[in-house]
Amino acid sequence: MKPAAIADVTANSFDSPADRGAPGSSRLVSLWTVYALTLRQHLHGKRWMVIAGMCVLCAGLVAVVRATAPDVPSVELEFDIAFMFIPQAILPLLALIYASGLVRDEQEEQTLTYLLIRPIPKWALYSLKLFATLTTAVLLVVMLTLLTYVAIYAGGGTSFREVAPRVLRAASIHSLAVVTYCCLFGLISLLTKRTLVVGILYVALFEGLLANLPFSIRLATVVYYTRLIAYRTLTFLVPLPIDPSRFNDLAAEVWQFDVKTDPGLVDHPQLHTCLIVLLAACAISTLLAAILFSQREFHVKTPEKS
């Protein structure tokens, strides 16, 4: 036995290239497997119960309103549930539930090691996991929106032709919002260990409080852009109780868009600008998160240390 000694270590002393893959191996297969594995993880989680509860809650709320106030116009009900309650409460919570566990779950369950030791760049690993999470979230949101619209319009006398485009637009807006929230919360989950607390505070203060203030600060919220997209693609006109021939623009009133002095909302971003802003927010937060993830160490607690 010789004592510890400084060895003469020479760089690149191994001349067989280490990037020889096994026969029939490809990086695309690895990436697809990460995506599929993450989808399967989402299916096996207990989050389903919470999400199912959210779906039932929305449809249940509609049923309660229908039972207690049968005269409420369907459009008003649609506005209150699909464009007030869902974007401001359900979508951020759904995104928070899924995106907060994007990396943290695997880290806590110590299965992240099995992904980190594969021939997959870390940035791609994060991006694929996020993409699978977005797929799950969007599918859930589409189902949630459909269910809510069925509860609102079923048996109300409104034709399917009339409702179908509204459902399609609502599902698209909700999907875009949940994608943006997922990307943001994915980034937050890498910045803090208390993702749920920070996420809930963000939803309450930022998206809840600031988005409802009629100042420029609301331009920094997701809710503002989703509302603007909804306003520019859908109408929420409700007949006035005193004069049913005249209509009240519910969205403009509640969302504090000054349509009297600015009927075309030219002072507000146009539809394509809203889309670009939200997609840019997704892209930037994903890029930052992917960089953070690729530079981060994920130290595994060994049994002796834990």
Partner: protein, 314 residues
């Protein structure tokens, strides 16, 4: 490793330190691990897992350079095609079956469907899990879980294998089987780095060892020299069995056993012996005796710790 100093190293650490805040995991470590089977030995907290996490690119060295097969490992995913890791933590996608877990590992390594199926079947067979491959991992015994972890490390046919305490908590039969598999991998030309805090385990696998303690390289070389030191200290081995009292009676009949202490709470016993090799070699047969099934064997490393203290302070 004087006998292999000419060969190209598989793993190279050059002045490597790793700190976790104020805690030192690895301290200015310089060494070269040659091809073949190498034992990474040290008591709990010696830095073995940190060493393996640095070597597999999971951790970034606070100082120094880590190279595997001549390449830097940090953020170098390409090298992972050539590396297999059997981690210490008992973590799985519990909802998967054993087959699914190994097959998914093959796919994560980039194997296409037919290749992944072949590789998973071959590897599961190699670790003796074919009969149980359809069951969910959550229902596996410790030994089955260790075998399955080993299978996922082997499934993409890596050139270098890092096994972190692969024998911990296994029953004597699984322990024997796993050791046979590791020896076979070595004879097939794979380079294997096996960490353990039990000298006996490592000695059965390879004469080449690296001794770590408190993140430092204490010694490297032939295991026989270490054994001379360790045999001066009684070796403590814990056996867990439902029939631990009956087992104690049988074990006390052996001449090389110096003492047996009953551990009622753990339903086991702690055996003291100065001839651990002879003791371990008789365990599989004893475990197969009627009603004496030994569920778990592990070595209390207090005795090993004293040897490390001796090595460090001499």
């Amino acid at each position: 490793m004087t006998e292999t100093s000419d060969s190209k190293p598989i793993v190279e650490f050059h002045g490597v330190s790793k700190w976790y805040g104020n805690v030192i995991g690895i301290n200015k470590l310089t060494l070269r691990v040659p091809a073949g089977v190498t034992g990474l030995l040290g008591p709990n907290g010696a830095g073995k897992s940190t060493f393996l996490q640095l070597a597999t690119g999971q951790l970034f060295a606070s100082q120094g350079q880590v190279r595997v097969l001549g390449q830097s490992v940090w953020n170098n995913s390409t090298i992972n095609r050539q590396i297999g890791l059997c981690p210490e933590q008992d973590a799985f996608y519990e909802w998967m079956t054993g087959w699914d877990f190994v097959y998914t590992s093959a796919r994560l390594a980039g194997l296409n469907r037919p290749a992944a199926k072949d590789a998973a079947a071959r590897t599961i067979e190699a670790v003796g899990m074919t009969r149980h491959q359809g069951r969910a991992v959550r229902g596996y015994s410790k030994g089955m879980r260790q075998r399955t972890k080993l299978a996922q490390a082997l499934v993409h046919d890596p050139r270098v294998l890092f096994l972190d305490e692969p024998l911990t908590g296994t029953d004597p039969v699984a322990r024997h089987d796993l050791m046979t598999i590791i020896q076979r991998l070595g004879s097939e030309g794979k380079s294997v780095v096996v960490s353990s805090h039990v000298l006996h385990e490592v000695q059965s696998l390879t004469p080449n060892i690296i001794l770590l303690n408190h993140g430092r390289l204490v010694a490297e070389g032939n295991v026989r020299d270490i054994r001379d030191l360790i045999d001066k200290h009684p070796h403590q081995i814990v056996l867990i069995s439902d029939e631990y009292r009956k087992l104690a009676g049988r074990i006390l009949e052996w001449d090389d056993v110096e003492g047996v202490r009953i551990l009622s709470r753990e339903q086991g016993l702690m055996v003291e012996t100065r001839q651990p090799d002879a003791f371990y070699s008789r365990l599989p047969a004893l475990s197969l005796e009627d009603g004496l099934a030994i569920k778990e064997v592990y070595s209390d490393d207090d005795s090993l710790e004293s040897v490390f203290k001796y090595l460090v302070n001499r």
